[in-house]
Amino acid sequence: MLGKLFKHEFRNVGRVGGMLIAISGVVTLLGVIYLISPLFRTIVHATDDTNWMLGLVSALMGLLGLVGYTGMLLGMGVGFMIYLAVRFYRSMYSDQGYLTQTLPVKASDLIIAKVVTAGTWMLIMTIAMTIFVSILAGIGFSVVMDVSIWDMLKTIKQSYQTINEYLNGLIGTALTRTGYTIIVNGIGGSFTTVAILFGAISLGQYSWKNKGMMGVIAYLAVRVLMSVVNGIFNAAVMVVNQSRIMEDPSYAMTMTSTQNLVKFAVSVVFAIVLFFWSIHIVKNRLNME
C-alpha cells in the first residue's frame, strides 16, 4: 500500500512541482537567449562614448532582470512550500481527508508517503533552481568577462583550489568541508523542513476550532523554539571554545561549520519528533470536523 500511496502522491505533487520547474526553465532559457544575443554583447562591450547612455540603461535593465529572476525563483520556492502545506492540510484534515483517512492504510504509511514525496520534490526544485541560476550566472559572466565557458570553469576550479589551500593553512578547515555541510544541509534540509511543516500542521488537530490557523500558529511556535534551541547550543559551542578564540581570533571562523552542523542536527531532531507526533495524531487523536 505504501508504494501505491507514493505513486499517487508523487503524481499529484509533481503536477505543480513539474510546472514550476518548467516555468523556471523557460524563463532561464529566455535569459540565456538574451545573454548570448549579439545585442547584449554589443551593449556590454560598447566603447563608443555615444553608447554610454545605452550601456547605463541596459545595465539597469540587466540589474532589474537579475533581481526579478532571483525574486521569481525565491517566490516559486516559497510558493511551493505554501502549496505543500495547503495540500497536506486539505488532503489530510479537511473534506478531502474523508477519503484519505478512510483508506485501508496505516497512519505511518500516510505520513511517510506525504513527507518523502514532498521532501523529494523540494529537493528536485532546489537542484533545478541551482542549476538554472548557475547556467544563467555562468553565461552572463562569460559574456561580460569575454571568456569562454570552459576557460571560466577552469579559472573557478583553480580559484577554488587556491582558496581551499589558503583557508586550510589559515584556520585548519577546508572549503570542501563547508561544501559538504552545505550539500548535507540541502539534501537533509528538504526533508526536515517538510516533516516540521507537516508535523506543525498536524498539531492543529488538538484544537476544537480553526484547526488550519492553529496549525500555522504551531508552525511559527516550532520555528521560534528551534531558534531558541539553536541559540543555546551555539552559545554553548562558543563558550566551550572561548579560550581558543581569545588566543586565535581566526579560529572563530571554524565555528561557522560547527554551528551549521548544530543547526542541522537541531532541525533533524525536531523533524523526527514531529514526524512521529504526526503519526500519533493521525492514529490516535484524529479530530475531523
Binding site: 505513486k7 478531502q96 483517512q101 478512510t102 492504510v105 476544537w208 475531523m288
Partner: protein
C-alpha cells in the same frame, strides 16, 4: 446471524462535558439495511465518523468483526460522507484509478456502468460537475465496492426527488445481501420502504433500536409518522 459491528458504551464529548454521543451500545447484524434516524444535532454523523475512524471515541469501544477500527476495518467498510471529498482538479477516471488501487473489493466495471447509466463522462473534472452530480459520483464509487458494511451519511439530502429514486435503486441493486447498510437521514419518508431496522437518536443518546416491521405493527403507523411523533417539537 453473527454481528458485524459492535459498539460498547461509546461516547464522544466536545469541550467540557458536552456529549455529542452519549453511551451508545449496539450490535449491528449482517444482511440488514438499518436506518440511523434523528433530528439535526442528534449525534448521527459523529457516530458515523467514529465508526469510520475519523474521530476517536472519548470513551467506549468500537469493533468491526471483532477487531478495533483500523486499516483492516477500513478495507471492509464503504463510507459515503455527508460532504464532497473529491479534489476539484481531479477527473472521475483519476478517482476510479485511486479506488481500484486501494480497495480490493472495488469493481471498476460496475462503476463505469453506473456512470454510463447516468450519462456522466468519466473524463470530466469534478470542478465542472454540479453538486448533485458529485454526490451521485461519490455514491457510485461507494456502491461499486463489495464491502461488508456500507455507511451512508445523508445520501439523499442534496439531490432532487428523481435522483433520490435512482440512488435508492442503486443502493438496493448493488449491495451484497451478506452485507449491511447503515444509512443516516432525516428524510425518512423517502427511504422507509427499504429499511429493515431503525435506530432513533436524540441528543447523542440511542432512544430506540427496533425493526421497521415491529414499529409498524406495534405503533400502528409508519416509521416516518412514528418518528414525527417521537421527535415532535
Amino acid at each position: 446471524m453473527s454481528d458485524l459491528l459492535d459498539l460498547t458504551n461509546v461516547s464522544k464529548t466536545y469541550g467540557y462535558n458536552q456529549y455529542a454521543v452519549d453511551g451508545v451500545t449496539i450490535s449491528l447484524p449482517k444482511g440488514r439495511i438499518i436506518g440511523l434516524l434523528g433530528p439535526n444535532g442528534s449525534g448521527k454523523t459523529t457516530l458515523i465518523k467514529m465508526i469510520n475512524g475519523l474521530l476517536r471515541p472519548s470513551s467506549g469501544e468500537i469493533k468491526f468483526l471483532g477487531e478495533p477500527i483500523g486499516p483492516q476495518s477500513k478495507a471492509h467498510i464503504s463510507y459515503l460522507p455527508d460532504r464532497t471529498y473529491l479534489a476539484p482538479g481531479d477527473t472521475i477516471t483519476t478517482v476510479l484509478d485511486y479506488f481500484e488501487d486501494f480497495y480490493e473489493d472495488f469493481s471498476r466495471e460496475r462503476a463505469i456502468s453506473m456512470l454510463s447509466d447516468l450519462r456522466i463522462d468519466p473524463s470530466a473534472k469534478f470542478k465542472t460537475l454540479s453538486k448533485g452530480t458529485k454526490e451521485k459520483v461519490q455514491l457510485i464509487l461507494v456502491m461499486s465496492r463489495q464491502a461488508d458494511l456500507y455507511v451512508l451519511d445523508e445520501p439523499i439530502a442534496g439531490v432532487d426527488p428523481a435522483a433520490r429514486d435512482y440512488i435508492l435503486r442503486t443502493i438496493l441493486n448493488n449491495y451484497s445481501h451478506n452485507a449491511s447498510i447503515l444509512i443516516s437521514t432525516h428524510l425518512i419518508g423517502d427511504i422507509e420502504q427499504i429499511l429493515d431496522e431503525v435506530i432513533f437518536m436524540r441528543q447523542g443518546k440511542m432512544v430506540l433500536y427496533s425493526t421497521a416491521a415491529a414499529i409498524r405493527e406495534q405503533q400502528g403507523k409508519s416509521v416516518d409518522a412514528y418518528f414525527r411523533e417521537v421527535f415532535a417539537c
